[in-house]
């Protein structure tokens, strides 16, 4: 339907603004449409200093979520957020997705979870996006059963002190859900718990 000015704008919104299109679940069958070749290879070819961030998505019964989609958006190692296009680069002959060319940093990753709820991206540690800012990977989580996607952030544990300073009111056990765990050099673990014990902190951007 053609958008009409919102007669009853929700609190805080100026009258006359268009009301947004409501969200709906991604459902179970996005797998042949949204994931793409090289979706988790955010770092460029031959980058000498990449990191891998991986983890599992769990539901409220601590079961794996095998039909989730994890998206990452981030700054490059210099803190630049001008990600280049080309994440879903297509072959001109076959129309198949061939993935990014590996030279330009697009800053965008998209990976479906596997049958065990596991996902992984290979990327670079982001730099501060403004002087003094604590860098992080912005994350959007989609899943069957999730009527509207969720936002969270992956902070690297080397910045834990800064993260604590950024969220002074957050209890330690909540804050920990935003910190990746270093498993070995260059390998970080970040589990996403949708519900229940150690539920991940999700954000609402106002």
């Amino acid at each position: 339907m053609t958008p009409q000015p919102d007669p009853h704008p929700p609190g805080g919104h100026a009258p006359g603004w268009l009301p947004p299109t409501p969200a709906q679940t991604v459902g179970p069958f996005f797998g042949y449409a949204l994931p793409f070749t090289g979706g988790g290879h955010i770092a460029g070819h031959g980058d000498p200093d990449t990191i891998t961030v991986h983890g599992r998505v769990f539901d409220g019964a601590s079961g794996p979520v095998p039909d989730a989609l994890v998206e990452i958006w981030q700054a490059d190692r210099d803190g630049c957020l001008a990600g280049a296009p080309g994440s879903l680069r297509h072959d001109q002959v076959t129309s198949e997705v061939v993935g990014r060319d590996g030279t330009a940093f697009t800053g965008f990753g998209r990976v479906p979870t596997d049958a065990d709820g596991h996902w992984a991206v290979r990327t670079v540690a982001p730099g501060p996006h403004r002087p003094g800012a604590t860098p992080y990977l912005a994350v959007a989580v989609f899943a069957r059963g999730l009527l509207r996607h969720l936002y969270t952030r992956v902070y690297l544990p080397e910045r834990a002190d800064h993260v604590r300073a950024d969220f002074p009111d957050l209890p330690a056990e909540r804050l920990d859900t935003l910190l990746a765990v270093r498993e070995r050099a260059g390998l970080y673990r970040f589990d996403i718990r949708l519900q229940g014990e150690r539920e991940t902190v999700f954000f609402d951007f106002c």
Binding site: Y32, L146, E199
Partner: protein, 254 residues
């Protein structure tokens, strides 16, 4: 083709109707969107956070920017889902067009729009969709395009069929097309579904009815536009999409 294993001991439509009526009496935190805790959609039970989201009043530049896409991310025929196979897909050919706008009404040009859908018989080209309706060798059901300078997208496809699912006994999804959009900020990211006008399954479907405000729900339904129909070729539907996101996404100079 395998016959379906009948569900037993599952909620009936009447049970789900009662749960939907109950949810209608409990306004969601944001009337424009579904409450993630929506019991009639049973898969939501273990997948919605119990803690309130942490409000970020002054989002960082990371969330006020977002990925960009361009000519290399789509191929020219990606917006015609009836092409790319050896034959024509079965079903009613349709055209869907509309504009992608922000909440001030500004058109969003160069935006990636991705869609996926069931075939005319209501079957997805996905191994986990095992309901006994035929796959169509000439239809895979996914497409993408970039919006033009007026923020307009355009797809040619076939009208998807309704399909059964196992939320409850005799659960059928109204015909719909899944849409994915980005906007200019990561906080404008949107995944939703477009429905067809006048579908008799609307009152029975907990996914559509998870949007409990009727005017918001109406915004998920396309309109038939006779001027978009092409003689002896397609029926035309129009569906505009408004991306939300925090106010900062609208006033930030970029």
């Amino acid at each position: 083709m395998r016959p379906p294993t009948p569900l037993t001991g599952e909620p009936t439509q009447r049970d789900i109707d009662a749960a939907m009526a109950e949810a209608d009496r409990r306004p969601p935190p944001d009337p424009d969107h579904p409450d993630r805790d929506y019991p009639p959609y049973r898969s939501s039970a273990l997948r919605h956070p119990k803690q309130a989201p942490l409000p970020v009043v002054d989002p960082e530049a990371v969330e006020l920017t977002g990925p960009v896409f361009g000519v290399t991310d789509v191929s020219a025929l990606d917006n015609d889902l009836t092409l790319g196979q050896t034959g024509e897909p079965a079903g009613q050919r349709i055209t869907i067009t509309g504009r992608v706008l922000d909440r001030t009404g500004r058109p969003l040009a160069g935006q990636l729009v991705e869609i996926w859908q069931a075939n005319a018989a209501g079957r997805y080209a996905h191994d986990l969709d095992q309901h006994p309706a035929p796959l169509d060798p000439n239809f895979t059901g996914s497409g993408r395009c970039l919006t033009d300078s007026d923020g307009e997208y355009n797809f040619t496809t076939i009208r998807p069929g309704a399909y059964p699912w196992r939320n409850h006994l005799n659960a059928w999804r109204p015909a719909h097309i899944h849409f994915s959009l980005f906007g200019t900020a990561f906080t404008q990211r949107m995944v939703t579904q477009m429905y067809f006008p006048g579908d008799p399954l609307f009152p029975y479907d907990p996914v559509l009815r998870s949007v409990t405000d009727q005017s918001a729900r109406d915004r998920l339904v396309a309109v038939y536009d006779h001027d978009l129909s092409l003689p002896e070729w397609t029926l035309g539907y129009r569906w505009d999409i408004v991306l939300g996101g925090p106010a900062r996404t609208l006033f930030e100079d970029r």
